[in-house]
């Protein structure tokens, strides 16, 4: 045990001496959370729109007021003719135009289908989709809020948002960012640090020493387990207090799941380093086999449901997919143990698989 502690102490020296890595380690969660939470979110605030109100009635004014008070839109220009729509779009400032036809309030009050035209700049398709969805929802809510009316307007809005009615980007991204940072820190750092010992030749000296293989691997892993756990907590705190992510479920359960995921990531890191002697290869392998699939196939950025069938099948072997789902289930939906049991089991099985493989590989590969 004393030998083991001496080893762990040495690992902490390595980490603390390397200022640049340390900065990356602890700066990364901040930057990522802030980037994804604010800058890169798909949530749109104060988008410039133009309004062409040919009706100029009480209804159109009230609908406009509702749109503006939502915080999603601000009026850049009030238009007076159809011709101007095209011109205004070409300036590139506005994202959307809302057009009220002349007989809008007449149709509305006489029980006919009143129409509103929404024209969006689809050169940024995601923005366009979000904006038109926001606008449709707001207009719909107006018709239902006017007493006695039976929603006579024809606007085909069929979406119903559960759990994230405001479509907050942070809800989607924070679990993903957390997953990504944990993977990066745990897997990449461990694989690189073990590969470094091999590259430097110190690994041989360790193997000749009375330290057992388990002690060497655990000694490498434990400091990063601690670091990653701190990182995970930082991200959670940032998510909850800065991005107003809800914490509906059991915190203890979430922390335990986080530990499990870190353990899995570490075992992948050890596995990678058991295959190579070079830090560069270890880093590259971590990037290729973990980061990219995690970003693209885990449901972090692109929904799994909208992927081609083939990729959906592949996504089943991406550990991040399960962890992201667990975090969302616990934090946002607030559901418990039973709902995440299967995903947890998958993660645990993956961890055992990788640890088993790497123990088998590490020593034989060195020789």
């Amino acid at each position: 045990m004393k030998r083991f502690l001496a080893f762990v102490k040495k690992e902490f020296f390595h980490i603390l001496r390397d200022r640049r890595t340390l900065l990356i380690l602890f700066g990364l969660p901040f930057v990522q959370v802030l980037l994804f939470g604010f800058a890169l979110s798909n949530e749109i605030k104060n988008a410039n729109i133009a309004i062409l109100d040919n009706d100029k009635s009480l209804h159109t004014q009230q609908i406009t007021a509702r749109l503006l008070s939502s915080g999603y839109f601000q009026v850049y220009q009030n238009l007076s003719s159809y011709k101007e729509i095209d011109q205004t779009f070409r300036k590139g400032v506005i994202k959307m135009v809302v057009v009220f036809p002349t007989q809008f309030s007449y149709d509305y009050e006489h029980g006919r289908t009143a129409q509103i035209q929404i024209i969006a700049d689809a050169s940024e398709q995601n923005t366009a989709i979000s904006l038109t969805n926001y606008a449709s929802a707001i207009i719909q809510s107006y018709t239902t809020s006017v007493a006695g009316s039976i929603a006579p307007m024809y606007i085909d809005v069929n979406t119903r948002m559960v759990f994230n009615p405001e479509l907050k980007g942070a809800f989607v991204f924070v679990p993903g960012v957390m997953t990504l940072v944990l993977l990066l820190v745990s897997a990449m750092m461990t694989s690189v640090t073990i590969a470094r010992e091999k590259e430097m030749g110190t690994m041989e000296v360790l193997f000749v020493s009375p330290l057992s293989q388990w002690q060497i691997i655990l000694g490498k892993v434990i400091p990063y387990l601690a670091l990653s756990f701190v990182n995970g907590c930082v991200i959670l705190i940032l998510g909850v207090f800065l991005l107003e992510l809800p914490m509906n479920g059991n915190l203890l359960l979430l922390l335990l799941e986080t530990l499990l995921f870190i353990f899995l990531a570490l075992s992948i890191g050890v596995f990678i380093s058991s295959l190579t002697d070079s830090q560069l290869v270890a880093m590259f392998a971590s990037m290729v086999i973990m980061l990219l699939p995690t970003i693209f196939l885990s449901g972090f950025i692109f929904p799994i449901e909208s992927m081609p069938k083939g990729l959906q099948v592949i996504s089943n072997v991406i550990p991040a997919k399960y962890f992201i789902r667990i975090v969302k289930n616990i934090m946002i939906k607030g559901i418990g143990m039973k709902a995440v049991a299967l995903d947890t089991l998958v993660l645990a099985a993956m961890a055992l698989f990788f640890i088993g493989l790497s123990i088998r590989n590490l020593k034989t590969h060195l020789a």
């Binding site: 004393k2 001496a6 020296f13 030749g201 041989e204 000749v208």
Partner: protein
């Protein structure tokens, strides 16, 4: 008791026989030179003796312990220094010494005593808390040797310890080796430098996985009728004579 005993020790990698049935004995306190061209099987043999590799066949004992069944005992009783620098560059000199003391299970008081002893002997007291990376190569190798001797191993394996080191430092390094041997430690050393082979008590020369010659440097020179170990090596390893 012999420090190292091998009997037909063999290691195969697939069809390739790296070490072919080598048999030799090393006395306690002896400085045993293990020579051979690159690829002759020196490193493989050494790794089997250190417990880094499991032999394919044959027998071997190191410090009285069997290489198949008692590797943990062997590890506790041997020191090892590889041709690659075996200390951590991002740790200070003092931290390196303490780390190795720690993983060999030395008591804290012993570690502190030994650390002070090594620093004094190598006259590194003033730079004890500097990063090891800042030391010149020769000093690093001397430090690495001292660290390999920290837990007073019965046998110490040195794999080309003086590669790339200047002649004066090499000379000092060999003085340290002699001193260790005079205190009863068995030295098992591989080297490329033929002048260093002359310093050994006995020398074995490996060619293509087999031990072609094993004798004192003097005996070898007489047998092959040359006046230097370099000549012996040329005849055996390269199949040519310098004369």
């Amino acid at each position: 008791m012999k420090a190292v005993i091998t009997n037909k020790l063999t290691k195969k990698f697939g069809d390739f026989i790296a070490t072919n049935a080598i048999t030799f004995e090393v006395e306690e306190g002896e400085i045993f030179g293990f020579l051979g061209a690159n690829g002759a099987g020196k490193t493989t043999a050494m790794r089997m003796l250190c417990g880094l590799l499991t032999p394919s066949s044959g027998e071997a004992q190191v410090a009285g312990f069997d290489v198949y069944t008692q590797t943990e005992k062997i590890k506790q009783n041997i020191g090892y220094m590889s041709q690659k620098f075996s200390l951590y560059e991002d740790l200070t000199i003092r931290e390196n010494i303490k780390f190795y003391g720690g993983i060999y299970g030395l008591r804290l008081a012993d570690i502190n005593d030994k650390t002070a002893g090594i620093l004094e002997k190598l006259q590194l007291q003033n730079v004890a808390d500097a990063l090891t990376a800042s030391l010149p190569l020769g000093w690093k190798q001397k430090l690495a040797f001292s660290v390999a001797m920290l837990h007073q191993p019965k046998v110490v394996f040195l794999d080309e310890p003086t590669g790339g080191v200047d002649p004066i430092t090499r000379r000092q390094f060999w003085e340290m080796i002699y001193e260790a041997a005079s205190r009863g430690t068995t030295i098992f050393v591989t080297t490329h430098y033929m002048d260093e082979a002359e310093y050994c008590n006995r020398v074995s020369i490996m060619v293509d996985g087999k031990i072609q010659a094993l004798d004192t440097p003097k005996g070898l020179k007489e047998t092959y009728r040359v006046d230097s170990m370099d000549g012996v090596f040329q005849i055996l390893a390269r199949g040519t004579s310098t004369k």
